[in-house]
């Protein structure tokens, strides 16, 4: 099995999906890396569910860390022209009210129907829903960015999620270290493979039926 692309390249591939004028929320973890590929002045507005619109990642350091200027993952951010702040009610009015054009979330499992599980590992119990359920339900377009398989080599793309769901039939696109897969009304469609990865390797690593696009190609990086 070939090694897939790095987390940074997954983030870069996701960033290629974003368009000027879109309001975009980036989940904690891998999706946060996407911010690095969103240029100030691109017309893409990043939304933080903790109450801001318009930010960029700040280099930051332990010494000059200002806890009042953070993203939803608690990491330092810097403002861009046109930034603004608000409370959590307005922040989720944006999410739930259909004002979020795109959201990028991490995933533990995605089903062939686009169900997402990303907030609880049953073995660990408890869990942290955070804004994930609202975002998965409310975003107009949901991209999941994740590793294709677990560390134990189990597929994360499955027929049926056995982890607790975040939302059902919510995922539009899956970007992993191995592939780009669209969730369509007729199931999963493989559209791109990572450099050095073959279509059959992707099918092998996927736990659900995968149709292969006639236009399947190398990942757009």
């Amino acid at each position: 099995m070939s090694a897939g692309i790095s987390r940074e390249l997954i983030a870069l591939r996701v960033a290629r999906e974003l368009r000027p004028g879109q309001t975009v929320n980036l989940g904690i973890g891998l999706p946060t890396l996407v911010a690095q590929f969103v240029e100030v002045g691109s017309g893409i507005v990043l939304h933080g569910e903790n109450g801001l619109l318009g930010y960029r990642p700040a280099p930051g350091s332990a010494e000059d860390f200002d806890p009042d200027f953070i993203n939803a993952g608690g990491e330092p951010i810097a403002l861009v022209p046109g930034s603004c702040f608000f409370d959590s009610a307005l922040s989720f009015a944006i999410v739930r009210g259909g004002h979020l054009d795109v959201a990028v979330l991490g995933g533990l499992q995605v089903s062939e129907r686009g169900d997402l599980a990303n907030w609880c590992v049953p073995e660990r119990g408890g869990g942290s829903i955070g804004g994930a359920m609202d975002i998965a339900t409310g975003a107009r377009r949901l991209i999941v960015a994740m590793e294709h398989q677990t560390r134990d080599g189990q597929p994360r793309i499955v027929r049926e999620c056995d982890y607790p769901l975040t939302a059902s039939s919510c995922v539009d696109l899956i970007v992993t270290d191995l592939a780009v897969i669209e969730v369509t009304g007729r199931g999963l469609l493989l559209t791109e493979v990572a450099p050095g990865v073959t279509v059959s390797e992707v099918i092998q690593a996927t736990g659900a039926p995968l149709a292969v696009s006639r236009q399947v190609k190398g990942m757009d990086l």
Binding site: G51, D68, D87, F92, V95, G125, I129, G131, M133, A167
Partner: protein
């Protein structure tokens, strides 16, 4: 007529055992650290806490040192993957504290509803998940929604940047989050701030939380926040 208290301990002097307390903040932003520290000193037991998050490095986790919480209502509590375990997590796994996990937007809206006199509301969030289990649902406009009820509390501990003596508040950066909502949804609202200015010193256009919502003011102590 000022709402200022001389110390955080005096500002929370009537917090009782079993009290339901809302704590503002989102991770470190706008977390009422000074009031939480006073509550740790006071040692009040059986607290039902409502807050966005309780995890490693969060002020609220300090309330677990002496097991002051009986129940936690939060959106963030146990990370799906984490090398270190919070004190809350240990108590939770030992069955010593209850946890009600609420999607963050639903948590915000339930608190807002509590402050706004809304008896309940329908949200699409949580449908098909454990968050909607056992709850009333309705098909509205072709989409399933779950009925959620308001949250209120005996006390709200909030954190703002600046207050005037009448309790008008302004925040800083991403610290409005749950603070501005919780200010409306508790019987007694106690705000810690960096600075208290005379009434009239804040531009009426810039006030975020009107003073009528705020009962008590106290100055924040020095902040010790680490980036984690």
């Amino acid at each position: 007529m000022t709402k200022r208290f001389a110390s955080p301990d005096e500002a929370i002097h009537d917090v009782f055992g079993g009290a339901r307390i809302m704590f503002g903040g989102f991770v470190a932003a706008g977390s009422p650290a000074t009031l939480v520290a006073a509550l740790v000193r006071r040692g009040t037991q059986g607290i039902v806490a409502i807050a966005n998050n309780i995890g490693i490095g969060d002020n609220l986790d300090d309330l677990c040192e002496r097991k002051q919480l009986s129940r936690m209502i939060a959106s963030f509590a146990i990370r799906a993957s984490s090398a270190r375990e919070s004190r809350f997590e240990r108590l939770y796994r030992a069955g010593e504290v209850e946890l009600e996990l609420v999607p963050q937007g639903t948590l915000a809206e339930r608190i807002r509803a509590g402050g706004a006199g809304i008896g309940g509301f329908f949200t699409p969030t949580g449908i098909g998940t454990v968050a909607a289990e056992g709850k009333e649902t309705a098909l509205i406009d072709g989409k399933l929604h779950v009925l959620e009820y308001p949250l209120r509390a005996d006390f709200a501990f909030i954190c703002a940047h600046q207050a005037d003596e009448a309790g008008n508040l302004v925040y800083r950066g991403t610290s409005r989050n749950f603070n501005a909502l919780m200010a409306t949804a508790a019987d007694v609202v106690i705000a810690e701030v960096q600075e208290i200015v005379p009434v009239g010193a804040i531009d009426p256009e810039h006030v975020v939380t009107p003073g009528i919502f705020v009962d008590r003011l106290v100055l924040s102590g020095e902040r010790h926040v680490s980036w984690y």
